[in-house]
């Protein structure tokens, strides 16, 4: 017995030591031109993730130019002063790397993951893209076609593909979140070459970007390379459009029926929630886990397992730089009606508001959050993105180490409180997706 006791003690000691060594260290600084740089060294695999996050997304667009930021993401692979059209991808491929990019409402993110001896190439490519991207008619024409196909493939031709678009369009009347990053085809067709160039010179500037690198790097040598490639890029001087629009408080429920190529009806509820760096954000994330995090979660257990009214339920708090939406999505089981499904969802939401969490339920959420946070840091790319994200939107890069504590500060009562505060009828949009066959 005594022996067992000692073993346990040793194990605990080991764990504590482990937890400390898992602290993520990083170096951050600004170049003279305003580019913010974050570096993290991880020597476990000889690869490196080089990323640039630009503080521009669909909310910076004009209402008659929606889709612009995402279109730009495509255009940024076309070539630069020193890179012939189509060669960007070839250079990455020749180096044995992969690259991609994505656009949200708030930011555009580019990355290369390369063997670590190709760090200089990754830096050079991103510096080229920032300094001298090729924006000409030929490149624009090709990407116009590609982006339209992307919209068809990912949204129009996918069952329930329009959920985000419909939810945001209904929920927002004034704020630019009323359109989503993919935007509308016709606006890109209408835009002139001068508008594209202006967008580039306004937003794709060092003082609007974060360069974040994680991998098998030498910090000093990396700093020198960064100075060499990014140092000479001039600071942007044009006025950046940061929308300062207060979305008026929604006062009555909004509803829409969407006919789609689906077999099973679905019910979507979207509730207005505060912005991502507001104090309630953490409680709202835990509320999401309470509702749909795992098989034992409230909504999943009740609707999928016990009542068998839903084939699937999910919730995502779409927390954004400005107030966003809490999206809940339930697909009806075969033969179940959307009205009944909606009632079942509502009943569980009422229960969350009234019934306090049990102590064990609360501890479960804390454990789930801890696992989820740890898993964001399994890849170098994941680390690089989180570092940039926390700097850009929270002005606190060290959240990579302290975010868990923010969650642990949430009290049981906070979760019930945010449910009561935000999950109300007048604060929501409800969409019913119905099979197009019903139209006939």
């Amino acid at each position: 017995m005594k022996k067992l006791f000692i073993t346990l003690f040793l194990l605990c000691g080991g764990l504590l030591g482990q937890a400390q060594s898992n602290k993520l260290t990083f170096t951050e600084y600004d170049l003279d031109n305003g580019l913010h740089v974050i570096l993290h060294q991880d020597k476990s695999t000889p690869i490196v993730a080089v990323s640039v996050m630009y503080h521009v997304g669909s909310k910076n667009e004009q209402p008659d130019r929606t889709g612009f930021a995402h279109f730009f993401e495509h255009l940024m692979f076309s070539g630069t002063e020193n890179i012939a059209p189509g060669q960007f991808a070839n250079l990455v491929q020749q180096a044995g790397g992969e690259h991609n990019a994505n656009t949200t409402q708030d930011r555009t993110f580019y990355y290369e993951v390369l063997p670590s001896n190709q760090l200089a190439l990754g830096l050079w490519l991103e510096a080229e893209r920032m300094r001298s991207a090729k924006i000409d008619k030929a490149a624009i024409d090709i990407q116009r076609g590609v982006v339209k196909e992307e919209k068809k493939q990912r949204i129009d031709n996918q069952p329930y593909g329009t959920i985000q678009e419909k939810a945001f369009a209904n929920a927002f009347t004034a704020h630019p979140y009323r359109w989503v990053p993919i935007g509308s085809d016709q606006y890109i067709d209408q835009a002139t070459l001068e508008e594209f160039i202006d967008f580039y010179k306004t937003y794709y500037v060092p003082n609007n970007a974060v360069l974040s690198i994680s991998g098998d790097i030498d910090i000093n040598q990396t700093r020198q390379l960064i100075q060499k490639y990014f140092g000479p890029i001039t600071r942007g001087t044009r006025q950046i459009n940061r929308p300062n629009v207060q979305e008026p408080q929604q006062t009555a429920e909004k509803r829409e029926i969407v006919f789609d190529e689906v077999q099973l009806p679905a019910v979507v509820q979207a509730y207005h929630i505060p912005k991502q760096n507001s104090p309630d954000a953490y409680a709202l994330s835990m509320l999401t886990a309470l509702l749909t995090g795992g098989e034992s979660a409230r909504l999943t257990k009740a609707l999928v397992d016990q009542q068998q009214i839903a084939a699937y339920v999910g919730a995502i708090p779409m927390q954004l730089e400005d107030p966003g939406l809490f999206l809940m999505f339930a697909v009806a089981n075969l033969g179940k009606e959307p009205e009944a499904l909606e009632q079942a969802v509502d009943a569980e939401i009422e229960r969350v508001k009234k019934e306090p969490l049990t102590e064990r339920e609360f501890q479960k959420l804390r454990n789930q959050v801890e696992t989820g946070l740890v898993q964001q840091y399994t890849t170098n790319l994941g680390v690089a993105e989180q570092l940039a994200n926390f700097y850009m939107f929270y002005n606190d890069t060290n959240l990579v180490n302290t975010e868990l504590q923010k969650y642990l500060n949430v009290k049981k009562e906070d979760i019930t409180r945010v449910a009561n505060q935000y999950l109300t009828k007048e604060n929501r949009v409800v969409l019913h997706y119905l099979p197009r066959a019903n139209q006939r």
Binding site: P46, Q93, E98, A120, D156, Q263, S296, A311, T378, N438
Partner: protein, 688 residues
């Protein structure tokens, strides 16, 4: 000599300025050593093989089990292997599903089971509990009818969803076409086969095939081998070995010729198109690495196909090809989604690239690029410690040489242009292949016919059953009068229609902006009342009585013209269809057209004033699917389209309960809430 020197010097002086504008990419540093790392392995007495990979980067651990069972023909109970896997996770001898769910979630873990094994992950600090739960699920399942029934319902829903997803339809039908319905890779999952599965099927599959002697267990993450050994012995030691039946997986025959198959998806904005053929490529064979390099050139992330179809022609967002080794039998395929209008052009370019790949050796730079890509992706995959475990398991499972992965990069670098051409010729066979399109058949069928060896297209439903395509030829002897008669019969017949004296229909009109209530009352053939309300406010009213009519709304109050009265009667009165001649309406059969996939007659009705309306009458059901009103204006014809559906019988007469008015991009939906017939509506209701 001196002269030349000076010239060079002069040039040299002017050169830097010119060159400064064109930078070249920085060269790589010295190549890093790629250390694959080692999995420690040991066997339990029951035959279970264990692989441990230590990785202390983050404090998580994963447990994965792979059961090396042959694919099996499931026949009229197709789906039971997957259901067995899922059902494992729904209760043990000592834990109900609810308890299991709660205990797994409580430690923030994930535990997923499937037909061929399981995956579990958790933070390191919960490792003993994770072992306990995983072992309980795997060794002591309690299969319950109630849980099986739930899973069957969920499977049916998932199947319904899959059928609505063009990518999934493409994949299901492609496999059925290539391998046939009597092959484990081509078997069709249907509502019927799911219904047929019993608890005994599940129990038998578990008893026979979930055995440690066919199992590979990988433990990866923040662990050390010593602690793992103890845990594995404790939790997996009691697992009993058994005689696991082996299957004889039949070889798949090559496709007979080049065949074009279509799955109709009426109105689709894109076609999902694929090219596919049978390919017999075994894991670890001499062809495996050259085939991977070849496929990367042809259809990898920055490939010939991508460059042609996306970057040059903007037909698609992405196009990829696949050629993966398989122990039994495999396939080559190339796959893309393109807008409907360029479906045939995209197929033509795709096939062109396949022939090009077979016809010549790749250029040196192209090959080198693909080799870098394959090597790079191999190196990057090592970032995940699971990869290392998988390499060790693959080496044992497919009996690969011990140094297969250690030599992988060397062998990729050794692939020659000739080897690439050779594997392209061997594994891409355009003369024995399917071209499959899931899309709007009305538009694409004629355009794809030229790719079929004998020009005869095949049509399939989403279950991979061959279907006949309804012809769009107007049958001999069909006339406008006969179409009209069919329509009247379908509605319930002249006698039933004539029995209607009055009818009151209450509907809801839904548009993105608002929801309105509409009340329509009709009596005889010449009395109509229609009122539109928003909440309790009436926003519009139309009344027709005999030859007179009136329209009232907030901003107008006017009498209708004689033409307008006649139009409204034709449109709104249920029985007007019986009296076309009386209204002076001429009818004409224009031909046929497909409406939402159904062959419909186009019946044109022309008013005395020349205004035209086209009825689309379903050639099978006889019901009206659509109505298109044509208004001739100075600047051309304006049309307004309404679709009709959800016909329900009331007093022997079929009444559409769902109407969509297409105005611009948005559809305005009208849903009928209530239909009341012959409730003796008084004439006063229609007073003007």
């Amino acid at each position: 000599m001196k002269h030349i020197y000076i010239t060079l010097l002069a040039l040299g002086l002017s050169l830097p300025a010119a060159f400064a504008q064109k930078q070249t990419p920085p060269p790589p540093g010295p190549a890093p050593t790629i250390n694959i790392g080692e999995a420690e392995s040991f066997d339990l007495k029951n035959g279970l093989k264990i692989y441990v990979v230590e990785n202390h980067k983050i404090p998580t651990v994963s447990i994965s089990l792979i059961l090396d069972n042959d694919p099996i023909i499931q026949g009229d109970k197709n789906g039971y292997v997957d259901l067995t896997g899922t059902l494992l996770r729904t209760g043990t001898k000592t834990r109900t599903k609810e308890q299991l769910d709660e205990e797994i979630d409580f430690i923030g873990a994930e535990l997923a089971t499937f037909g061929g094994g399981l995956n579990a992950t958790a933070l390191k600090k919960h490792l003993p509990k994770l072992f306990q739960l995983t072992s309980d699920v795997l060794l002591n399942p309690q299969f319950k009818q109630e849980e099986l029934d739930k899973l069957k319902t969920q499977s049916l829903s998932a199947l319904a969803s899959a059928k609505a997803n063009p990518n999934q339809v493409e994949s299901m039908v492609r496999n059925t076409l290539l391998f046939g319905k009597n092959h484990p890779y081509g078997e069709v999952l249907t509502e019927k086969t799911i219904e047929n599965i019993t608890l005994t099927d599940v129990q038998n599959y578990y008893n026979n095939y979930f055995r440690p002697n066919v199992g590979y267990l990988a433990i990866v993450g923040d662990v050390n081998t010593k602690e793992v050994k103890k845990l594995v012995k404790k939790y997996f030691g009691p697992w009993k070995k058994g005689n696991v039946p082996q299957q004889n997986v039949p070889a798949a025959a090559p496709v007979n010729g080049t065949r074009v198959a279509i799955v109709d998806r009426p109105g689709a904005v894109q076609s999902v198109v694929s090219f596919s053929n049978i390919a017999d490529l075994k894991p670890g064979s001499a062809d495996a690495i050259p085939a991977t390099v070849m496929n990367s050139i042809l259809g990898g992330p920055y490939s010939r196909l991508m460059n042609n179809l996306r970057e040059k022609r903007a037909y698609t967002y992405g196009v990829y090809s696949q050629l993966s080794p398989n122990e039994h039998t495999s396939q080559f395929n190339a796959l893309t989604s393109v807008r409907t209008a360029v479906t045939d052009s995209a197929v033509a370019q795709m096939i062109l690239e396949l022939y090009r790949m077979r016809a010549g050796e790749p250029e040196a730079t192209e090959l080198q690029r693909a080799q870098s890509l394959v090597s790079g992706s191999f190196a990057r995959s090592l970032e995940s410690p699971q990869t290392v475990a998988l390499f060790s398991i693959n080496t044992a499972r497919y009996k690969l040489p011990k140094d297969y992965y250690a030599n992988y990069l060397k062998n990729v670098a050794a692939v020659t242009p000739a080897a690439v051409k050779q594997v392209a010729e061997k594994y891409i066979t355009p003369t024995n292949a399917y071209i499959l399109a899931v899309g709007n058949a009305d538009y694409i069928e004629r355009r794809l016919a030229r790719f079929d060896a004998d020009g005869a297209l095949e049509y399939y439903d989403v279950n991979g059953n061959k279907v006949d395509r309804a012809s769009l030829e107007v049958p001999a002897g069909m006339t406008a009068q006969k179409v009209l008669d069919q329509y009247i019969t379908a509605l319930g017949g002249r006698t039933n229609l004539e029995k209607i004296n009055d009818v009151t229909i209450t509907s809801t009109i839904r548009s993105p902006q608002a929801s309105l209530t509409m009340t329509q009352i009709q009596k005889g053939t010449d009395k109509i009342y229609q009122s539109l309300k928003y909440g309790s406010n009436e926003v519009q009213r139309t009344v027709i009585n005999g030859t007179k009519g009136k329209a009232l709304s907030a901003d107008q109050n006017r009498n209708l013209t004689a033409d307008e009265v006649r139009e409204q009667k034709l449109k709104l009165a249920l029985t007007s269809i019986l009296n076309l001649d009386k209204f002076g309406i001429k009818k004409n059969l224009l031909g046929m057209e497909r409406i939402n996939g159904r062959a419909a007659y186009r019946l044109e009705l022309t008013m005395p004033n020349g205004k035209r309306t086209i009825y689309y009458i379903d050639s099978e059901s006889g019901l009206k699917l659509r109505e298109m009103e044509i208004e001739e204006t100075n600047i051309g014809n304006a049309t307004q389209t309404t679709d009709y559906g959800d016909y329900r019988e009331v007093n022997g007469v079929k009444i559409p309960h769902r109407m969509i008015l297409h105005a611009g991009q948005q559809g305005v939906l009208t849903e009928v809430q209530k239909v009341e017939i012959n409730k003796n509506v008084k004439d006063d209701a229609f007073k003007i």
